[in-house]
Every structure is written in C-alpha cells, then in structure tokens.
Symmetry: C2
Subunit: 415 residues, 2 copies
C-alpha cells in the first residue's frame, strides 16, 4: 500500500514547525514511539508496521495541492510554505525489526532528525505503527491459543478501512496466521489466499444440497458452509455429496454459528462414522484467543480457526496506548511530567537478555551477553539496504517469540 | 478519498460469482446491510459512509493487474476472467441519507442487482459503511454529552489507518463535531481545522515561559498546553504571558492530563482572578461520552472537548455487529436460520413515525403519516443526481436526531 500523503498531519505539527524554523530551534531531536501500557492480560507485543513507516519517511513530500491548502490557512506565511516545499526527511531511524517481541516503554521506532522533520511525521508514524503492532500482537495470541492449528484471516470487512484491512492481514501473517481471504492483501504481500462459501450462495440455489453439489463439483476439495439452516442437517448433506462426488471432493466444512464445541464434536462424529476422516472442520464467528483457547482446551475437534472481527478490531484493545515523544533535543534529555502520563527522557537502547530486557541510555555502552533490540534501519533519510526483509523472515522472528519475565529501566533514565 | 480497489474482495465472493455465472444464477438479488445489535447503552445510530460506498460502486472495475492476479489463482478460468473484465455495477441502491438516525435491523444500504454484482461488492460495502456509521454514532453521543459545548476531533493518529482517520473525521463532523486537527480531512472535505501545541514544543524550548511567549506572539489567540510540567504552574505562566502580550494573545489553554474536573476548576479560578475571563479551557486525553457527561454534570468549567482515541476506535465498540445479507433472489424471499444469527428475508422499507419505526416488506404499500427511510440513491449503476448532498445537509439531518421508543418488524417478514 502506498503510504499516507504528507498532508496526513495534524495542524499543530505545522504551527510548531513554523516556529521551530523561525526561532532556529532546528537542532537534532530524538523522538521515540512507545506503548505506554499493555492491554489487560497481554504478555507481549509483536512489532509491525515499520516497512510502510519507512516508505512514508522516504517519500515524504508536500505536493502543490498540499501546499496550496496549507497556504490558505491563516497561520502560515510564504517563507514556511517554501520550507515545506523543500522538506524531505533526512534523518536516521532505529527500530526493532518487524516480528520482534517488544514490551511497553521499549521504542517501536526511534527517529533522530532535525526537530521540524521529526515533529511533522508524528501523526503518520503513530498511525502507521500502532495499529499493525496491535493486530500482530493480538493475532500472535490467537496463534498461541490455537496450539499448532492453522489460524486464517477473514477480517477485511470488519477492519476500519480497506488500507487498515490490508495492513491488518499483513500484520496477522507476520504473527503466524497462515492465509487470508483478502485478494488485495494476497496480491500486494504475496500471502496465500483462502476462502469457503457464504450463506448467500446457499440461499440463492434451490436448496442446500444443490449448492453443496455445485461447489464440490466445481471446486474439488472445497469447504462447505453447513450452518445456513441447521448444522446437523448440513453435515448430513455434506456426507451425501461426498458419497456422490467422491472422497476428495470435500476438503472441509465450516461452522459459523451455535456452540462450536458441541457442533464440531457432533460433526466430527458423523463425518468419521461416514468414513470422511479427512474432511476437516473450520470454525468462524467473532473468535478471539480466549474462545480459541477454550475450544482447544476442551478438545474440540477443530482443524482451522478463521478469525476476523476480534483480530482486526479487538474488543479488548481497540487501540494501543502509545505515544511519540521527544526524548532529547540538541543533546539534552527532555521529558514531560504530566500527571499520570510522564514520559522518560534520553535516547534509549533496549538490551535483550535470556530472561529479561534492560532499557539503558543509548550511549551507555553495551550489556554483556545481551542483544540490542533497536537496529539502524534508515540513514540520511534512506533505508539501509541490509534492512530490507521478506515477510517470511519477519514470520520466523515472530514465531520465536521471547516472553520475558521483566523489563527493567536504568535508573539514569528516571532521574 | 478514492474508494477501494475492486480487488478489495474476499476470495469466496469470486468463487461464488464464477458459479453463479456458470449455473445461470444471475437473476435479480436484493442484499441488505444491517446492524444486528447495538453496543451496550447506545440508543441510536447515525448512518454514514454512503457517499464513498456509492463512489465505489460507480467506479467498480477490475484492472489488468487485478485480473492477472485472479487468473493466477487455481479456482478461476478464462471465461470468468473475461466476465470480470466486463463487470460493472449496474444495479439500484436504496439507503437512508447520511446523517439519518437508524436502528438495528434497519438497512443501512439496500442493493438490488444481478446476483454476482450484489455479491462481489459485499466485502467493500460492509467495510465502507459500518465504520463511518460506528464513528458518527459514537461522535453523536459525545456531542449529546457535551450539551452544547463544541467537540473537536484529534483522532487521526489513533485511527487504524490514514483513510480510516479521514473517514472518521468526516463521520464525526456529520455527527456534530465542529472541527478537526487533520489537514488532509480538512482539505478533502472542507472541514474547519484547529489545533493547539504539543508537549514536544515546550520541551524543545529553553523553558515553558519561552514556549508560551513564542506561541502567543506568533499566533495571537493561540491555545497553550499547560500540563507539561505542572498544570497549576502552567496556568500561572499563561497569566504572565497574557499580561506581557495583551489580553487577546491567548485564546485558550489545554489540559491533557490529571483530574480534569479539579484542574479545570482551579485553572478557571486563577484565570478569572487574573481578569482572563475570555480565555477558554479545552480538555483532551482519551475522552468519551461518559467522561464528558460526568464533567458536564459536575459543572466543570470546560469550553471545548477534544476527542481522539475513544471516538475513532471506541473502547466499548471496536466494530458494529453488522451483516450484508441476501434477502431476496429472483423475487423469492430468503433467510438463513443459523443458531443465534438468523437473518430476516424480504426486501424491506422502514417507515418512520413520530415515536417509533416500522419495518415492512418493501412492496407492502405505505404507512399513513410515516416517512420512508430508504430512498433511491443509485439507478443502473449511476448515482441519482438529486441525491448529491453537502456535509452541511448531513450535519443538519444528524442534528435533528430522532430517538424512537421502539422499532417494530412486520410479522410478514418473520414468517
């Protein structure tokens, strides 16, 4: 997906930037984007969204229409419009690669740039990183809960927009989902696509049997949706069709309603009794990691979990509580002390040890036997080539998630 | 914003469509998008998102890249690819205009089209209408709670994507918000833009006083953010700056943390004592309608509420529970009977009476003294010109929200 327009920016970023230029406050700034607190019950986050954020920074440029609009606002003078016309992102970026396990207070992205540049990109960077990280984290929890069974993405219709949907699909794939129903995400990100059938198909045919026959004949190995009228009857019709069309004609059934534990058990029993042991059972319908865990723990004979709504717009975490904060300006550590929402000054590095993470000042030297989490990914406004990664690499990183017992913050950062 | 690509579609829509064509199931279908249940405590919904949905339908067309991708999938043959190449939306659409108060089970959009066309647009239509309707409804609740005080949108960074952000801003504006911080939404939809300053500006200057002075001098009538270090001290500095720069130099202060009732009262008292009775108080920080109502009821001296997170991604309603269902095919009413998720067959019309709504079969004749909610907005795949409306008209419609005591469903629909 193309990154947002440069005009995807809050007004105050530009009023501040104009003053920075006018007052010569254009020294080197360090901004860090962090999650402030974890959603209830979550143990870790999976970083995602960096690639598109870097694309945004690389291509940042106000076009003539943008500039004409900004010039039409009463706050801005022509000198600033000229500066805005010349503006490119020239800074340096450090970040944990996508798929990395991260924790609150650990920077998801660290921007080192002349203050106006670091300021102007705030709105877009939060937007581009917080949501994919939310979805990757939620999806990883679903994958954990599924305990080895594939989890697939059906969320496009429920996402808050088409580009949110596509980035959600990508993030869930990084976190271990195995396929998506979204053709656009499939094409853009080379993610395997999958699908079943909708109730409408069955309703449009003369009856369920005709619908099942048509799908099994046209798409051998298909998945039949069995709950349009009555799940038990849908399973019987599946058996009938399998007998008529041959054992390979039906790959799976999908159950989208009712008590999924009971329905899946009854379906499994009937399928097995009919000799259809290879027909798999897919379930869907507002699933999240809690329902998946319950079904898995109860031993539900479910082979694939299809998730949508509660991964792309999780009911327990509609957003991540994140902030993009200035932590250093011209070599001086800065922090706000707002009641209940203080920030932690100093440019930071996160050191990963086998059992816990340590957050230290960036230039405080290394930590023995620890791996630095933030890596350089952009220099002088250009991506560092070595950083370019495939989704497969990100998936592998996410698959070896690191559940730390604690994250400690260097006292030097808090003084 | 441009509508989504035609390829923003779930795989199963196309496997179904291919079979519809092959089996000649291409008669007239009626699909309806409805909300199935209301988020807890909500009394009404405000319809939004229709304009972009119609734009999507009008411009629906698979391009060569889309077709090459679809052709690369094992399910599709060249005859279908040719059909897809020719495919345009030729149907009819009925809908309540944006800004209309609506209730669960009342169609947000009704599509009457050859079955494959009505089917293929499912993914995009749900995506394009459910989220703006969610945000407009949530925003209207915030406007209700603010009881006449302006509510403004600061949500761009928290939305799930940049296009979600822009559509959220538009939806909130329809619902009665008065301005936005988003320049892109401001430009695209001609919505007034507004803004204050961020903590970073204050941290980058030598001290808070210098930052306040700079803003008050450069932007007379500005809003100063007073809680970076200590709100009470920030208010004292505001008074100091107002004395130095003149009474018109400061339009407002913003408080973004702490107990907003206490902080706003103390600030108001100090400002008034200093003769700054015209300096307004803006508050922000994860506000929703419940917090706004609490502050208003407690008599907090707050002039403007700035909302972000909990409007664009509401914690009590991450999505609306909506469905796009086939309700008639070739003149025959159809409905699924899935356990806990039945649909209601028949094409419908909603009749609005002074105190309640009645949902009847579409062709069942009128209801005396009632207004039909669904209006024709597209014919033969083209927008009906008379439908084109300004955001102002939608805002006016939303401003006269209709809180109905009940919605009754004609028994003929349920049999």
């Amino acid at each position: 997906m193309n990154p947002p327009s440069a005009l995807f920016v809050d007004l105050y970023e530009l009023t501040m930037a104009q003053l920075y230029y006018e007052r010569g406050i254009t020294g080197e700034a360090v901004f860090e984007l962090t999650v402030r607190s974890m959603p209830d019950g979550w143990e870790y986050l999976i970083a995602a969204g960096l690639d598109r954020a870097l694309h945004f920074l690389e291509s940042l440029q106000f076009d003539d229409d943008d500039l004409a609009y900004v010039a039409s606002l009463p706050q801005f003078d022509s000198e600033f419009i000229d500066r805005l016309r010349q503006l490119r992102f020239t800074g340096e970026v450090w970040a944990p690669p996508e798929g990395t396990t991260v924790y609150p207070d650990e920077p998801l992205i660290q921007v080192v740039a002349p203050l106006p540049e670091g300021q102007i990109v705030e709105t877009a960077l939060i937007n581009l990183i917080a949501y994919p990280t939310l979805v990757a984290s939620k999806a990883a929890r679903a994958v954990d809960a599924a305990d080895g069974r594939p989890v697939i993405d059906f969320g496009s219709r429920r996402a808050h927009s088409s580009d949110a949907a596509i980035e959600a699909t990508r993030a869930a794939y990084i976190a271990g989902f195995t396929a998506t129903s979204s053709l656009q995400a499939g094409r853009l990100y080379d993610i395997p696509v999958t699908g079943t059938m909708a109730h409408s198909y069955i309703l449009a045919e003369d009856d369920e049997l005709a619908a099942f026959n048509a799908f099994a004949t046209r798409y051998p190995g298909t998945t039949l949706l069995v709950d349009t009228y009555n799940t038990a009857e849908g399973v019987e019709r599946t058996i009938e069709v399998a007998k008529r069309c041959g054992p390979g004609s039906i790959g799976a059934i999908r159950i989208d309603s009712g008590d999924l534990l009971t329905e899946s058990r009854q379906a499994r029993q009937r399928l097995d009794a009919a000799g259809l042991v290879s027909v798999r059972i897919i379930v869907s319908g507002g699933l999240d990691e809690y329902q998946i865990a319950e079904l898995v723990e109860a031993g539900a004979p479910i082979d694939v979990f299809a998730c949508g709504t509660n991964i792309v717009a999780p009911r327990d975490a509609a957003t991540l509580d994140s902030a993009y904060k200035l932590v250093e300006y011209a070599g001086r550590a800065v922090a706000k002390r707002s009641e209940g929402k203080p920030s932690v000054g100093h440019r930071k590095q996160v050191w990963r040890l086998p059992e816990h993470d340590e957050i230290h000042p960036f230039d405080g030297g290394g930590v023995a036997d620890a791996e630095p989490l933030l890596r350089p990914v952009m220099e002088h406004g250009r991506r560092i080539a070595a950083h370019a990664e495939s989704l497969t690499q990100m998936r592998e990183r996410a698959a070896t998630r690191v559940i730390q017992s604690s994250v400690s913050v260097d006292q030097a950062l808090l003084d």
